[in-house]
């Protein structure tokens, strides 16, 4: 009996070792080495790369990434909650409304980011439209700034909050809401004192699902943020390509990973399953 069961796990286990465990180990080693003369890595071993991360220049990049990810996450939660509530209360049409949320999400993140480039540029649709209507005379600079990046992130990750929030709301015991009303609580008060606290698991799940990818975002900041918005993701990518400083890039990646892991650990609760 036992050998067969292990056999099922073997391919996945081998894959994980080869593509996750070993590469991460290599990155760990690289982060402690020095950049090679012609790219790659070489000795001596050093912690210089990590020290460099504390340099104000790079510290600022981390802080900015944090800030943008936090704002995007908060917006996703605030914007996603009423939608999740709507879907949970929509009775027989639930599946339709859920599909409408899931559909755009799965059709190419890259293209959806490009869509906002198309809309926000100086010669994009919004600006040409506003100019044609005579509301403005010079184009509004809507692209290539932090705001555009946040917009792109919210657009990309909104479904990630809607789904877990919906799941939690669906399972909510309706009689608890009736009890609150029965005890004199008007709807807004019930929302804040009963519904939201009971949605905490969904809120936590959604927040993590959005924050971590946003923290390490590359495409959105690259296409919508222009050269002014360099976030951690862009930094790492740059080190491994143009700048050819693999050890530093490795250190930055690991720090990013560490932050993500720390957050996940902090938000974990007893009894909630991993997969």
């Amino acid at each position: 009996m036992k050998p067969l069961r292990s056999l099922f796990l073997a391919p996945a286990a081998a894959l994980m070792i080869v593509t996750i465990a070993v590469p991460l180990a290599i990155i760990c080693f690289y982060s402690l080495l020095t950049r090679g003369a012609y790219g790659g890595v070489e000795r001596p071993w050093t912690t210089e790369n990590y020290r460099l991360l504390f340099d104000p220049l790079y510290g600022a990049i981390f802080l900015r990434s944090f800030w943008i990810a936090a704002v995007a996450t908060a917006l996703c939660l605030v914007l996603g909650f009423p939608l999740a509530l709507f879907i949970a209360r929509s009775g027989s049409r639930k599946n339709l409304y859920l599909s409408l949320v899931i559909l755009p999400f799965w059709t190419s993140f890259l293209i959806r980011t490009y869509a906002w480039m198309f809309l926000l540029r100086d010669t994009g649709l919004i600006n040409t439209g506003l100019q044609a209507a005579g509301l403005i005379h010079t184009p509004l600079p809507m692209l290539y700034n932090d705001g555009a990046v946040i917009l792109g992130l919210v657009y990309g990750y909104l479904p990630f909050t809607v789904l877990p929030l919906y799941a939690t709301l669906e399972r909510l015991d309706k009689s608890l809401l009736e009890a609150a009303a029965d005890l004199g609580s008007p709807p807004w008060n019930t929302l804040f004192r009963v519904m939201l606290p009971l949605c905490a698991p969904g809120i936590r799940a959604g927040a993590i699902l959005v924050f971590v990818p946003c923290l390490g975002t590359y495409l959105t900041s690259d296409l919508l943020g222009g050269s002014k918005t360099i976030l951690i993701g862009n930094l790492v990518q740059n080190q491994f390509t143009a700048a050819r400083d693999w050890p530093f890039g490795a250190a930055a990646s690991l720090t990013l990973m560490a932050v993500a892991m720390a957050l996940l650990f902090a938000v974990r609760r007893q009894g909630e399953e991993l997969l």
Binding site: A179, S185, R193, P197
Partner: protein, 320 residues
């Protein structure tokens, strides 16, 4: 005694059926009033109409001299103890009981809460979470949570059905005692006629959205006005369209002297229950009946031929 709660011609129509059909009712102040009926009779809908979770299709609901049927639940001075208790799982016992009070911004909240917790005998458990409480304790929190708001009427939706059977009798007595001490008008919904009979000052028997009879437990049991009420409360034997309660049904081997209301029957079962003996018999026409006779009565066994008779005064007749 004045009526604290009044329903005037209240109906509730759903697309699929009429849950409540033209009900008019008066509940006296300070009474323990029960709505009794089988599942589906509309009693829960009635409760929800009074609490404010449903609005009547026709009719009016009056509380303490003011009309309330257009008000949302959070503006009515009635409170509900839900069948599942609906305690807020994220709040402590104190948090639950305080919930309605904080809304009103009342002073001396803590003392108030302590007092009510004492009344339901939950002192010392303020900081427990609902998941750490027993079923009986959870019910008391639900009671405290509602009573602390001093409602005009307290609505209870089958509060004993979620408890273990052996706990039920004890909690039943506690509930009656609590109501007497606190003096709040209780409107109690149940399908269990024994509960209704033992707890209530007055009972309204409901069937298919209509109130068939309102009265004291004695009235309802001894002088039922409809066939349904007669058979729903206690057990009853139907013999040729006349109803006779088992305790009024007599059994004897010899023909009784007065000669009226006698039938021949064959005993099918005989159960000694300590204080009474249940004798099940079948009449010539095939109808089954049960007689409750004292242990000192005639000793009969299955298969015996007996005479079944009753006093005319114990008959329950109804127009067809």
């Amino acid at each position: 005694m004045d009526a604290i709660l009044e329903l005037r011609g209240v109906s509730k129509h759903f697309p699929s059926h009429r849950a409540v059909n033209g009900v008019s009712l008066e509940v006296q102040r300070g009474a323990f009033f029960s709505l009794l009926g089988p599942s589906g009779c509309g009693k829960t809908t009635m409760l929800r109409l009074i609490a404010g979770f449903e609005t009547p299709t026709t009719g009016e609901v009056w509380l303490n001299g003011a009309r309330i049927d257009h008000l949302p639940p959070y503006r009515r001075n009635v409170n509900t103890v839900f069948q599942s208790y609906a305690l807020f799982p994220h709040l402590t016992v104190r948090g639950n009981v305080e919930f309605g009070l904080r809304r009103k911004g009342a002073d001396g909240i803590e003392a108030h809460v302590e007092r009510v917790l004492e009344q339901v005998r939950l002192t010392g458990k303020e900081l427990r979470m609902p998941c750490d409480l027993s079923g009986g304790e959870r019910q008391r929190v639900a009671l405290a949570r509602s009573l602390v708001l001093a409602p005009d009427v307290l609505l209870l939706d089958e509060p004993l059905s979620a408890l273990d059977p052996h706990l039920r009798k004890q909690v039943r007595a506690e509930l009656k005692d609590l109501q007497r001490r606190v003096g709040v008008t209780f409107l109690f919904v149940t399908h269990d006629q024994e509960e209704a009979l033992s707890l209530s000052d007055r009972i309204a028997v409901m069937n298919a959205g209509v109130v068939e009879q309102v009265g004291s437990p004695q009235e309802i049991y001894q002088r039922p006005r409809t066939r349904f009420v007669a058979s729903f409360l206690g057990t009853i034997n139907w013999i040729d369209g006349i109803g006779v309660r088992p305790e009024s049904t007599r059994i004897s081997r010899e023909r009784p002297q007065n000669g009226v209301n006698t039938r021949l029957a064959v005993v099918t079962e005989c159960a000694f229950l300590g204080s009474v003996v249940h004798v099940a018999a079948r009449l010539e026409g095939g109808e089954a009946l049960v007689a409750e006779i004292p242990p000192q009565g005639p000793a009969v066994s299955p298969g015996d031929a007996v005479h079944v008779w009753w006093n005319p005064g114990d008959e329950l007749r109804f127009s067809p």
